[in-house]
């Protein structure tokens, strides 16, 4: 390959590759007769155009000469910023066409395994189009709805379901669509056909209070803007709450770092008390401080700040968030200490 001089016959060059309307290089026709091209040529990126069929504006994109038409189809759709339906690994039902040199669109591509360079050698241009159809999904079956507006009954029949035995629902809906009332169909819509039972004849559940992990609480509180870090020291977990706003005065600082010991039995095992990182004082001391202990290389005062007997920890109502509020009561000189 090399750069092409103006006026010379087309050769397989980068210049040719970047101009979709350049004539097909003779070399490529020779390769087509031999039914293979070199690895180097196969990897050559060529510029193509695509458009929504029949009259969309052209968009350019690149593919490799060795790409299959399916790969080119996917790249073209990506360039048009549309999803092919049905999604992989199913084969798309949308229609892919290549333009012939006479300016007419070819028949819809059916042999998607054909390499691009063979298609070009067979007389197609580098101009492509995609006809996006009204693909609908019912249960696991994808199909193209024949009309824009159809009754659920017609749709069931079209997809091979017996409307006497099946009712049509929108995905995750409990309410059956009235069989005779027409609905407007949109590309990509998902319906479910639910059968009657003859005899004779995701959504993930949310974590209920009392069943959540400390990680669940931390995640939720972090999304609410709290600066929380989970530490694990041996078998013990601690949650550090950074920058808790506290009134100053009387406290020496306007914010404090606190830490809460988390029992492995949380949340039925209650949270209680708090650790206050050294440095924050009130009148030179720390009220209700018990021992000072090193945790994670920093010094913390264990604060004896507990729930009232009349209002004990309730695992179905309390959590890390409410406990942090309870701890703030210490700084605000509220709450109950036993």
């Amino acid at each position: 390959m090399g750069s092409e001089a103006p006026g010379q016959p087309a050769t397989i060059s980068e210049h040719w590759a970047e101009h979709p309307d350049r004539a097909l290089p003779e070399g490529l026709l020779e390769f087509a007769e031999g039914e293979s091209i070199s690895i180097e040529l196969s990897g050559l990126r060529v510029r193509l155009s695509t458009q929504k069929y029949p009259d969309g504006g052209p968009i350019h994109f690149h593919a490799q000469l060795g790409d299959t038409l399916k790969e080119v189809f996917v790249k073209a759709s990506h360039a048009l910023d549309e999803r092919l339906l049905p999604p992989p690994p199913l084969s798309p039902l949308d229609v892919f066409r290549l333009r012939r040199h006479n300016g007419h669109w070819g028949d819809p591509v059916t042999d998607f395994e054909l390499p691009l360079w063979v298609a070009l050698a067979e007389g197609f241009t580098r101009h492509t189009s995609i006809e996006y159809l009204r693909e609908i999904r019912i249960n696991t079956k994808w199909g193209v709805a024949s009309k824009r507006v159809m009754t659920p009954r017609e749709l069931l029949v079209e997809f091979g379901f017996n409307p006497e035995e099946f009712s049509l629902y929108r995905r995750d809906s409990k309410d059956a669509l009235p069989p005779e009332i027409p609905i407007e169909l949109h590309r990509g819509e998902h319906f479910e056909a639910q059968k009657d039972g003859k005899y004779g004849g995701g959504t993930a559940p949310s974590v209920a209070r009392g069943n959540q992990t400390i990680e669940d609480d931390i995640y939720r509180l972090q999304t609410e803007g709290l600066d929380l870090v989970l530490h694990t020291v041996g078998s013990q977990k601690y949650v550090e709450v950074r920058g808790v706003h506290i009134p100053s005065p009387p406290w020496s600082h306007a914010s404090a770092n606190i830490m809460v010991a988390i029992p492995a039995t949380y949340p039925i095992g209650a949270l209680d008390a708090l650790y206050l990182e050294q440095g924050v004082t009130q009148g030179g001391g720390v009220p209700r401080a018990q021992a000072t202990v090193p945790i994670l290389g920093r010094y913390w005062s264990l604060i004896s700040w507990h729930y009232a007997t009349a209002r004990p920890w309730n695992p179905t109502a309390d959590d890390l968030g409410t406990h942090i509020e309870h701890c703030r009561g210490y700084f605000l000189a509220r709450g109950v200490c036993q």
Binding site: K195, Y199, G200
Partner: protein, 463 residues
């Protein structure tokens, strides 16, 4: 595959099906839907009935003496419950009004079920779907696979004030093998049918120390089929006063407390299998998962954390659980009380949190690391945490004996019913009392109806 159901749900099932079996009338077929969760135990899988979904007006598209059509709306409602609640699937239940002590699926059922099940598996891949047909006194059940083959459901086990076992093979009563002569003298209390159930059940004994070693002995001699022992503690000299069969030489190498019981059961030659679970500490997730393998749990522990986990398993997996406890009350080294307690925990009954056997305070303390635990104790705000509590075999035997009788009763009732929530014996006062407890409002264990039969949907409170 077994199907477990609570007594309340079994009663609801009966209520919804009863209209097909009114004497001397030509009754229509009827039915309902059982929402289920799967116990994925590899050794003892079961389906757990989470809820009996009652039919509403219009839920049967056709209903006659020989036909019943579940409307797509009814099935859809069940499917949406499965999706939104994260359940495993559901079973349709319909009646054959003319069937009494034997029932089976009709040719019509056989012709239509595969298409319905294929549709359900298409809508909910990975789900579990099946069907049950009910006669007046019999059930037949089957579980369908996505490939449209089915396997029979084996047994409907009702868990509540008593354990009720109903075959799902279309017959009204299970085949009962002749009992071995070993158990002749016990047949008055535990008849052949109950003995057959005992011998096909797996009992989890959690704790093999004072009360646990006694329970293992009682189970072995009652005719239990299999005992799974959970114990992590090493035997030491202080255990010799109360661990059955433990010898001085067992203490020396520091063997697991359960090893000696294991040996004794093996040497007995009695028809019982025994296994000790590796690790044995049920506060560890992988060990607690083995609790699902059991048909019955006997808690012989002295800590609240494992008791809490056992309560969770009882509700979530519909596995009945008897908890044993003893306490020697001392005041200045003078015996004030000698108490033995047995509590029966099952769906529909208050849990150990509600009965005060387990407290959140002790659960919280037991969940702390050793250092944190010491700090908390040093702050002096543990109100009732006891270390090295005194214990004697004599008292443990009272609890084990009560538990053994209670267990037999559950398989073949002979005790006064309804059963009290706990049986408490005060040896110092020569009194045995029935104790009942109020359910706490919003109890996280037994006050949450979603937990019942939820299997793995709720995590166990393990490490």
């Amino acid at each position: 595959m077994k199907l477990r159901i609570t007594e309340d749900d079994r009663a609801r099932l009966y209520k919804y099906l009863a209209s097909s079996f009114i004497a001397k009338r030509r009754c229509p077929e009827t039915g309902c839907i059982l929402l289920v969760q799967k116990n994925e135990s590899p050794y003892n899988p079961a389906l757990l009935v989470v809820e009996v979904l009652a039919p509403a007006s219009g839920d049967f598209a056709r209903q006659g003496a020989a036909e019943l059509t579940f409307s797509s709306g009814y099935l859809r409602r069940a499917l949406m419950e499965v999706r939104t609640r994260g359940l495993s699937g559901f079973l349709t239940v319909h009646t054959h009004p003319f069937a009494d002590e034997r029932v089976g699926f009709s040719c019509y059922d056989d012709a239509n079920d595969p298409e319905l099940m294929a549709n359900l598996y298409e809508l909910q891949p990975g789900g579990i779907f099946g069907s049950i047909v009910a006669g007046k006194r019999s059930f037949a059940g089957r579980l369908w696979n996505p490939c449209q083959t089915c396997e029979p459901l084996s047994e409907l086990i009702t868990v509540g004030e008593a354990l009720k076992f109903e075959p799902l093979d279309g017959s009204s009563s299970p085949h009962v093998p002749l009992p071995s002569a070993i158990f002749d003298r016990a047949l008055a209390v535990t008849g052949a049918g109950a003995l057959a159930k005992l011998s096909s059940s797996k009992f989890g004994v959690i704790g093999a120390s004072g009360t646990g070693s006694l329970m293992i002995e009682l189970l072995m001699r009652a005719g239990a089929g299999e005992i799974l022992v959970f114990e992590f503690d090493r035997a030491d000299k202080t255990n010799l006063n109360r661990v059955l069969h433990l010898r001085m030489r067992d203490v020396e190498p520091g063997r697991n407390k359960a090893d000696r019981s294991h040996e004794v059961v093996k040497e007995s030659g009695l028809p019982v299998k025994v296994a000790v679970v590796d690790g044995g500490d049920i506060t560890k997730t992988e060990v607690a998962e083995r609790l699902r393998d059991c048909d019955f749990l006997l808690g012989c522990v002295d800590r609240d954390w494992p008791r809490l986990i056992l309560s969770q398993v009882a509700y979530q997996y519909l596995i009945p659980y008897i908890d044993l406890g003893t306490e020697v009350g001392l005041d200045n080294e003078i015996v004030q009380s000698l108490d033995a307690r047995v509590s029966y925990v099952a769906p529909g009954r208050p849990c150990l949190l509600c009965s005060g056997v387990v407290t959140e305070e002790r659960v919280a303390l037991e969940g702390q690391s050793e250092e944190e635990f010491k700090r908390i104790l040093s702050m002096g705000y543990s109100r009732d945490f006891r270390l090295n509590a005194p214990a004697v075999m004599d008292l443990n035997m009272r609890a084990a004996s009560q538990a053994g009788l209670l267990l037999r009763h559950l398989f073949q009732p002979f005790l006064l019913t309804p059963l009290p929530h706990s049986i408490r014996e005060s040896a110092t006062n020569f009194s045995v009392r029935m104790v009942n407890h109020e359910r706490r409002e919003n109890c996280p264990i037994c006050g949450n109806p979603d937990r019942q039969g939820s299997g793995p949907r709720f995590r166990l409170m393990t490490r």
